[in-house]
């Protein structure tokens, strides 16, 4: 997938003023064979205090289902505008989602946590399926999911 500069247009908390202080990061989400329809995934970041910092990606196009991504929905007040322009298709069972985006340097090693909420039709809601601190050392280390996500990796 081509680099997503749009990801920069999030909140001031995670945006570097210029590309000089940002770097391309590849987010790879491999889904488990959970045996259901395409999963909705909300990828977002919270700061050291646990407050919502911004959304990176929303896999799944229908905002009326975002309420089932319950942590994201609670943190954003269900505000679909948070993912304007950074929305793609839901991800099928056993498929993988690879995103490349420019992320601000100051997001790393500063207490920020990347979260993924997941849900699929007629199946459980799985908020906070992934919660991984953004650190330089953590890059390239796969993190296990719980229900829908086999593993998730962010790499420079």
């Amino acid at each position: 997938m081509k680099p997503l500069h749009a990801a920069l247009a999030l909140t001031t908390a995670i945006i570097a003023p210029g590309l000089a202080s940002a770097r391309p990061v590849t987010l790879t989400t491999n889904l488990a064979q959970y045996g259901g329809p395409g999963a909705y995934l909300a990828i977002y970041v919270t700061d050291a205090s646990g407050a919502y910092a911004g959304s990176l990606w929303m896999a799944g196009g229908r905002s009326k289902y975002y309420r089932h991504l319950s942590d994201w929905s609670r943190l954003t007040g269900g505000d679909a505008a948070q993912v304007d322009g950074i929305t793609g298709a839901s991800v099928g069972s056993g498929r993988s989602l690879e995103l490349t985006m420019d992320l601000a340097d100051k997001l790393f090693d500063a207490g920020y946590t990347l979260h993924i909420d997941a849900a699929a039709e007629d199946m459980r809601e799985s908020p906070n399926e992934i919660a991984v601190p953004l650190t330089t050392q953590g890059a390239g280390q796969p993190v296990q999911g719980r229900r829908y996500i086999a593993d998730f990796t962010y790499a420079f």
Partner: protein, 735 residues
């Protein structure tokens, strides 16, 4: 216009409708299976009680959901291992897997989006829209075919494919329309084209910060019955700032985990509430019986797609091109065709070929292209017009009457109008009559008087062509047999002979009913179903033109019976009367739905003369219900041609026949059946006043005489054969 509005979306959508309806039918089974297999609900149970029971079984439960079907599912984690199960609400114990069935998931995706994502959703929505257009245009077509909205539910007539199409459509159109409308609503909701007002309250600003209260003790959960529950999400373990999230049929809110109080509540808006009903109506989830009914009726859709395509194919096949056709301005004879089923084109082509063979030049065109000014070389113009339903014009020729009224007639060429129709319909050849009247009013010179062809009779058409040939000075011999019928050999079992003494040899011929396997019947290879009054077509050896005889038996009698009188020089009647038991003729059955007794218990008055007794005797034999049937029978002499005399005695004794009145023209009394009717005038008026239905069978003159006599008899009662006919209470079969 309406017809093409029905045809083109129908053909385009046939495959799509097939896919959607079949997957829909398959899906309709799931709610019922779920309703049967799901653990029984507990009457009056509250969410508090349910949540406490589930929590006891699964201490790490995260979420409890209740599907519209009533199925309750719980989700939890043990360590990092996700768990889920269907829950028995009575015990809180697991009662089966919560994983959705792979088949149902696949079928749902196929039904909703053809496995193609959003593009597929738009395609299926187009399918639903096509279904809606088909349902609406189909309803109007049925009304037109039936002769008005008030007769929309009346029995259908006509050829099998079209009749099946109509019958099934009538049964299924309401639910198909509902399915299409609800599908479109759901698509619109999915694509955010409808207002979304489902409750989505913000997380409460303040919670008690307490934890550990049992759900059983929570007032907010105790006030909600399980039947209203949609979803209960538990707070994160150990997070004192979290709360229960509760969603019910009415709305959503949060419940404090320390106090059990409702912290915040937002009701669903009207769109969300309507949306829930739409979902139930479309899927049957939460209404299993409705779902099954919907599925069952949806089964009609694939059959409609197939029969509709068959009707269209047959119509197309029946519209042949005429080789060597002249241009409109060069042809001596212009033949204009208004055809509904397309069969009239076959007759037109046969006439065209005969005229070409005689050296003439012919132009064949639909009547809708009527333009007399352009027929520069025309010496005559022939209009062949079929009638659709109750006297209506075929859709392709609806504008023709206006064109005829407006355009000036051809300066030199005269016009001949021939109507095609079915006598069993209330207005026989009504459209041809309208054309004839319009042409006369517009000042046309008529080449021939209006003539009418009943049920594609090849003989009547040959007669008319001969008359046309006389009128134009070119002998014409036109034999056109539409769709050569598939015949079966019928072996004669027995014959009873009458009438030799009065120079009218007549026989009751009984043939064995050929055995047909189920496969044969499905493929239409058997004789098919028939009842007394239907027609047996017999194709004599060496001829292609069938002769029709009224059937005196039904398929349940297990034999095929007809009554035949020998006509001097008659090829077929001679052959039949020479038949010895064991010998066979080739025959087929043609239905005659206009000449059948209704199913009421009102008196049935049967009037027959000569061989016309045949179908009437069959109806009396079939009268197992002992409906009061009164028979008036005219023959020549009681000792010579009193057909069915013994049976009629037996049927009178057994109650199959209420009264028998006879008239013999060559006995001492010299009575015709009309005379006998006059004698019984008082009784006939009384029977008719009780709702009696009259059926007349015999020669054309006899039928006309009976009609006139009955008109006289019934006049004092304020009714007439034609008023009875309009009410479906007077039927005639004459030959």
């Amino acid at each position: 216009m309406l017809r093409s509005l029905h045809r083109w979306p129908g053909l385009l959508a046939a495959v799509l409708v097939l896919a959607l309806s079949l997957s829909g039918v398959a899906l309709s089974v799931f709610p019922a299976v779920e309703a049967i297999s799901a653990p029984a609900a507990v009457t009056g149970q509250t969410v508090a009680d349910l949540a406490a029971k589930v929590l006891a079984t699964h201490p790490t439960v995260e979420q409890i959901r209740r599907a519209p079907s009533g199925r309750i599912t719980a989700y939890w984690f043990v360590g990092d291992t996700p768990g889920s199960a269907v829950i028995d609400p009575a015990t809180g114990q697991d009662a089966g897997t919560a994983d959705p069935s792979a088949l149902k998931t696949w079928l749902t995706d196929f039904h909703r989006a053809l496995l193609l994502g959003d593009a597929g959703r738009w395609t299926t929505a187009a399918g639903a829209l096509a279904m809606l257009v088909l349902s609406a245009s189909g309803c109007v077509l049925i009304a037109r075919r039936q002769g008005g909205w008030r007769r929309w539910f009346a029995p259908m007539r006509g050829p099998a494919a079209g009749r099946w199409h109509g019958e099934l459509a009538r049964a299924a159109v309401a639910t198909l329309t509902l399915s299409a409308l609800t599908a479109l609503w759901m698509t619109a909701a999915t694509f955010d084209m409808l207002p979304a007002d489902e409750a989505n309250p913000a997380f409460p600003a303040q919670v008690s910060g307490q934890m550990g209260l049992s759900p059983a003790a929570m007032p907010a959960l105790s006030s909600v019955p399980v039947a209203e529950l949609r979803d209960l999400t538990f707070p994160y373990a150990g997070d004192a700032t979290d709360a229960f999230a509760l969603t019910t049929a009415q709305g959503s809110g949060f419940v404090d985990q320390g106090s059990g109080a409702l912290l915040d509540w937002a009701p669903n808006g009207p769109w969300a509430r309507v949306g829930e009903w739409i979902y139930l109506l479309h899927t049957g989830e939460g209404a299993a019986l409705w779902g099954m009914l919907l599925g069952l009726l949806t089964l009609a859709a694939p059959v409609l797609a197939v029969t509709g395509t068959l009707v269209w194919l047959r119509n197309r096949r029946n519209r042949p091109a005429l080789a060597g056709m002249a241009r409109a301005d060069k042809a001596e004879t212009v033949i204009l065709v208004a055809s509904e089923g397309g069969s009239t084109w076959g007759f037109a082509k046969a006439l065209g070929q005969a005229l070409q063979k005689a050296g003439g030049s012919v132009h064949l065109a639909p009547l809708s292209s009527y333009a007399p000014a352009s027929y520069a070389a025309a010496e005559r113009i022939v209009v062949m017009a079929a009638t659709w339903g109750d006297g209506d014009a075929p859709a392709s020729a609806r504008s023709a009457l206006g064109l005829i009224a407006e355009a000036a007639p051809h300066p030199t060429a005269p016009l001949a109008v021939l109507g095609f129709g079915d006598r069993s319909f209330p207005v026989f050849c009504g459209f041809a009559e309208d054309i004839d009247a319009a042409a006369r009013a517009a000042g046309w010179q008529m080449l021939l008087a209006l003539d009418r062809i009943d049920r594609q009779s090849a003989q009547a058409f040959a007669r008319w062509c001969a008359a046309l040939g006389d009128a134009i000075g070119t002998p014409l011999s036109v034999i056109h047999q539409p769709e050569p019928p598939r015949t079966l050999p019928l072996a004669l079992v027995s014959r009873r002979d009458y009438g030799e003494a009065v120079q009218a040899p007549t026989a009751i011929l009984r043939f064995a009913l050929p055995r047909a396997s189920v496969i044969d019947r499905l493929l239409g290879r058997g004789l098919g179903r028939f009842q007394p009054g239907d027609l047996l077509g017999i194709v004599p050896e060496g001829s292609t033109v069938p002769r029709y005889y009224s059937l005196a038996s039904g398929v349940q009698d297990d034999f095929v019976e007809i009554v035949v009188r020998k006509h001097p020089g008659g090829l077929c009647s001679g052959l039949l009367l020479d038949l010895a038991p064991g010998q066979a003729v080739r025959a087929f059955v043609k239905s005659n739905p206009g000449f059948r007794p209704d199913r009421s218990d009102a008196p049935l008055l049967l009037v027959g003369a000569g061989t016309g007794i045949g179908p009437l005797a069959g109806m009396i034999r079939a009268n197992a219900r002992r409906r009061p049937i009164h028979l008036w029978f005219g023959a020549r002499h009681p000792q010579a041609d009193f057909l069915y005399a013994d049976e009629l005695d037996g049927w009178s004794a057994s109650g199959h026949l209420a009264t028998l009145s006879t008239a013999f023209s060559r006995s001492a009394a010299r009575q015709y059946v009309q005379d006998r009717l006059r004698t019984d005038a008082e009784r006939i008026r009384e029977l008719v006043s009780k709702g009696g239905r009259i059926m007349v069978c015999g020669g054309r003159e006899m039928a006309q005489g009976v009609r006139e006599t009955l008109a006289e008899i019934l006049a004092p009662a304020g009714v007439s054969p034609s008023s009875l006919k309009a009410g479906g209470r007077y039927a005639e079969d004459s030959y």
